[in-house]
């Protein structure tokens, strides 16, 4: 394998980065207006934030979700705190998604956030269903592709999946809300048994899915 690297060292002092603070970025999210569908039309640079990171671009033909360990742990804690917290999570998330979209852009997104709130209690960072709730049959080339992919609950899968072991091990030393998992009672020999941990997390996930099913019916 050959590797090409280009390094650009820019001076002694750190250059000022003209990037909006995360708190202001939420107010500036502006999806592009509709454009003719064409395979060569790139996805618009829709911005979003995850745990302080600013997403500048995400081509949903290849990538539909990104999250951090901080977000996963936060959601796991909120899950473990019971239904009240889950309600507040969904409300908080719906409000955070709403705050990232200018009101003038698309009322469909606001309607979708209500749908989001009713259908699921998971935090789905980029789960903005397509306008009118209908699947769009167009070439995956514009910003709509990004929005449509969000409607498929892609990011929710990151929560349904078990937490990585590296996060579980780190959190075991600190967590109180995860005590019900009895991680502290797992012996040193068992601690490396990922199947045990995954089973416990799947129990958590399945419990959430049952709630999701009830909400749908």
């Amino acid at each position: 394998m050959s590797v090409r690297m280009e390094m650009d060292i820019s001076g002694v002092s750190r250059a000022h980065i003209s990037i909006l603070p995360a708190s202001e970025i939420k107010a500036t999210l502006k999806p592009e207006a509709d454009r003719p569908r064409c395979a060569s039309t790139p996805c618009s640079p829709i911005r979003g934030t995850v745990a302080g990171y600013q997403i500048l671009h995400m081509d949903s033909n290849y990538l539909v979700g990104f999250t951090t360990g901080e977000e996963l742990l936060k959601l796991a804690h909120q899950w473990s705190d019971g239904t009240q917290e889950k309600s507040s999570v969904s409300e908080a998330v719906a409000s955070s998604i709403q705050s990232t979209v200018p009101k003038s852009v698309d009322f469909g997104i606001h309607r979708s956030s209500r749908i989001f709130k009713g259908k699921t209690r998971y935090y789905q960072p980029y789960d903005i269903p397509a306008a009118n709730g209908r699947r769009r049959r167009r070439m995956p080339s514009s910003s709509d592709t990004f929005l449509r992919s969000l409607a498929h609950s892609e990011p929710g899968r990151s929560l349904h999946a078990p937490l990585p072991l590296c996060l579980l091990k780190g959190k075991r030393a600190q967590s109180k809300s995860l005590d019900y998992l009895n991680l502290d009672k797992i012996s040193v020999e068992e601690s490396s048994d990922t199947e045990v941990l995954q089973y416990q997390l799947q129990h958590l996930t399945l419990r959430g899915e049952r709630m999701f099913t009830r909400n749908k019916t």
């Binding site: 394998m1 050959s2 590797v3 090409r4 690297m5 280009e6 390094m7 650009d8 060292i9 820019s10 001076g11 002694v12 002092s13 750190r14 980065i17 990037i19 909006l20 603070p21 995360a22 708190s23 970025i25 790139p42 640079p45 302080g52 990171y53 600013q54 997403i55 500048l56 671009h57 995400m58 081509d59 949903s60 033909n61 290849y62 990538l63 539909v64 979700g65 990104f66 999250t67 951090t68 360990g69 901080e70 996963l72 742990l73 992919s149 892609e154 990011p155 899968r157 990151s158 999946a161 078990p162 990585p164 072991l165 590296c166 996060l167 091990k169 780190g170 959190k171 600190q174 490396s192």
Partner: protein, 207 residues
């Protein structure tokens, strides 16, 4: 602007090492991690060992064949007040999770541009070794050298990832088993481990 070539470690002739052995070592070298046979369960260094204050501020990946930018992310300057502590697991900031579509596995070359700042100390021989596994099988090990970094500088570097050839069966399994593809990214200064990041991946997005 410097252009440097990296190399893909084939792990030929590298002694096998275990995570347990390395956790007991005072210093972890590039050769140590090249001998790892599977993803580590623990981080091999603490966040505090990043004494050079290396901070990644922007990341972008693109398909080298078409130039299509797949993903770009940046980290705005921290707005935390001095001395304010967050009740967050320090390791949580060293892990990311990607949800790719199956189409991603069909790519051959992906360019990854990373922008990072460094602290007040010069950095000699900055190097990254990134190892990707599916379950307990090493898919590929990437070895990139950044070289020397001036103190208090901001640097941008693009690495070219050449995807390993994957059988249809492997692709199918990777798609069917989300987040069982994982990676360890080890960063070295002067052949000493200073940072360790992790990631996992799914490839069933959009299906």
């Amino acid at each position: 602007m410097k252009v440097k070539k990296g190399c893909n470690s084939t792990d030929v002739g590298v002694p096998v090492t275990t995570e347990e052995d390395l956790l007991a070592s005072a210093v972890i070298t590039p050769e140590d991690v090249l001998g790892l046979q599977k993803i580590t369960e623990n981080y091999l260094c603490s966040p505090d060992e990043n004494i050079y204050n290396i901070d990644f501020t922007r990341f972008k990946i693109r398909d080298m064949e078409t130039g299509t930018v797949l993903f770009e992310i940046t980290k705005p300057p921290s707005t935390d007040k001095a001395g304010e502590k967050k009740d967050v697991d320090p390791n949580a900031g060293r892990f990311v999770r990607y949800q790719f579509t199956p189409a991603f596995l069909r790519l051959r070359q992906v360019g990854a541009t990373v922008e990072f700042t460094v602290g007040d100390m010069p950095i000699e021989n900055f190097r990254m070794i990134e190892r990707h596994y599916f379950r307990e099988k090493l898919l590929k090990s990437f070895d990139f050298e950044f070289g020397f970094c001036m103190p208090s500088s901001k640097n941008t570097c693009e690495h070219i990832y050449e995807f390993p050839p994957l059988s249809e069966n492997s692709i199918r399994e990777m798609i069917l088993h989300p987040y069982e593809t994982q990676s360890d990214s080890f960063y070295f200064v002067d052949n000493k481990l200073v940072m360790h990041n992790k990631a996992d991946y799914s490839y069933n997005g959009g299906t």
